[in-house]
């Protein structure tokens, strides 16, 4: 019992730590913009710094990963390996060709194939240990990731001038139901629900709560606060988005300007986004580039056809029998041992 109460205390600290970190960031943006008027810092300098850290950080991390050797051939598969021609093999679940690997990676990246296999184990009365399928994490993760992709791409209407047509098409599709004005985006609703579920999932189940760290809660709260400030700006406390776009275009065309009269809510939103992308290369969020460099996914299951050479292998210094005999021939002869060469 003591064990679990400690776990509860740990959870509370992790949750409160992450939550207060987000609130401190929000307070920082409010103080910085509303009180001491550091608009240029929050509107230009921090965004440039964050973008630089994000891109360079990920490139350096990927190079670091690429320098690590893969000593063993370790694809983790869930299907019949290609072997004899009359045994049906699973081309996507256990690919033996590059094309198959690409297909398997696409299934993984676009539809989270391996998470679809997620199971749960529960101790029921009896005691009976019961295993079952658990698709909720898969569903929540899929809804979250697709929503954030759509939202990210929608934001290109602020980043690019003239706006590319695919952004407008995506925006119209997202606002398909034409609920209210400004039109409600489906992705806004879905990402909020998905994030609330993903937070709830960590807190609700004792086992998941036990293994959850502050670094698990922090990104969830951070992204939720970004979503909430975005939603507030669109539906409740609207800011002058023409000026917002002027600021964004200024950044991307290297003519930074900070137009007057953009609400503080925008600067909070921007500061939280900058925090997210700065945090990105140093956190679990690195699974975005990491999925491409995962040897259990990106290797073909062809170990019966192609020999995987361990890059650690060095020429080994061996002492062959012939050399041994050359060295000890006289002594061997003297003690009457048979030798191969006289």
């Amino acid at each position: 019992m003591e064990h679990w109460s400690l776990a509860k205390k740990g959870t509370l600290i992790n949750v409160l730590f992450s939550l207060s970190a987000v609130f401190i960031l929000i307070a920082g943006a409010i103080v910085g913009v509303d009180l001491i008027k550091f608009n240029f810092l929050f509107g230009v300098i921090i965004p440039y710094t964050a973008i630089t850290i994000f891109i360079l950080g990920i490139i350096l991390q990927v190079i670091k990963w690429a320098k690590s050797p893969v000593p063993f051939h370790i694809p983790t598969v869930a299907g019949q390996q290609k072997s004899l021609p009359w045994i049906k093999s699973s081309k996507l679940e256990s690919p033996s060709s590059t094309l198959g690997v690409i297909g398997r990676m696409l299934l993984e990246i676009l539809f989270f194939r391996s998470l679809f296999r997620n199971t749960k184990s529960e101790l029921k009365n009896g005691p009976r240990l019961v295993y079952g399928s658990n698709k909720y994490l898969w569903l929540g993760a899929l809804v979250f990731h697709w929503s954030i992709l759509v939202i990210f791409l929608r934001h290109f209407r602020f980043f690019m001038q003239p706006i590319p047509s695919f952004v407008l098409a995506l925006q119209n599709l997202d606002g398909f139901f034409q609920i209210g004005l400004p039109v409600l985006y489906i992705s806004d609703v879905l990402i909020t629900l998905a994030l609330l579920y993903l937070i709830f999932r960590r807190v609700a189940d004792l086992k998941i709560r036990y293994i959850s760290l502050a670094s698990d809660y922090f990104p969830l709260f951070l992204i939720l606060s970004i979503a909430v400030t975005g939603i507030l700006m669109r539906y409740f406390d609207r800011v002058d988005i023409v000026k917002v776009k002027e600021l964004a275009i200024g950044i991307f065309s290297f003519h930074p300007t900070v137009p007057d009269g953009i609400g503080v809510l925008f600067y909070i939103h921007l500061f939280l986004v900058c925090t997210l992308i700065t945090y990105f290369p140093f956190s679990k969020l690195l699974h975005m580039p990491g999925i491409f460099l995962t040897p259990t996914r990106n290797l073909a299951n062809n170990s019966r056809m192609v020999r995987h050479i361990n890059p650690w292998n060095r020429p080994v210094r061996v002492h062959t029998y012939e050399e041994y005999e050359d060295e000890f021939r006289d002594k061997m002869k003297a003690s009457g041992l048979p030798v191969e060469k006289e």
Binding site: I51, I63, A66, F159, P162, I163
Partner: protein, 133 residues
Amino acid sequence: MYDSGKIIIGLIIFAGIFTSPFWYDLSGGKEALKAPVLVLPTKADQQVCVNTLEYMRADHMVLLNDWRYEVVRLGDRTYQSPDHKEFNMSLTGTCLNCHANSAQFCDQCHSYIGETPYCWECHTEINKPENMQ
């Protein structure tokens, strides 16, 4: 570095996607920096809007949505502005009376930020040549 060919291609794709706004706006040159230019009504009796400037800038779509509801669903056409003036709730009759040319007013910001309001699916703009008969 192992598989350096694949890694470098991947990193170029990554950097290309995430820096695409820079390339796009830099290649657009001065065009991209152009902010919307609004042609405002000049006549003396057209200087007062139905609400404050700040409110109209950020929230005009809410006002228009409310007007639509009040007129179409409730049949009420009278709008009281914050300074207690009465206006006729009508896009064509009130808004377009002053802001006669939507291309020089509405569309300037709307196309700049990629909004495509569905006003003109029902309403027509009387001043447009193709609508004048």
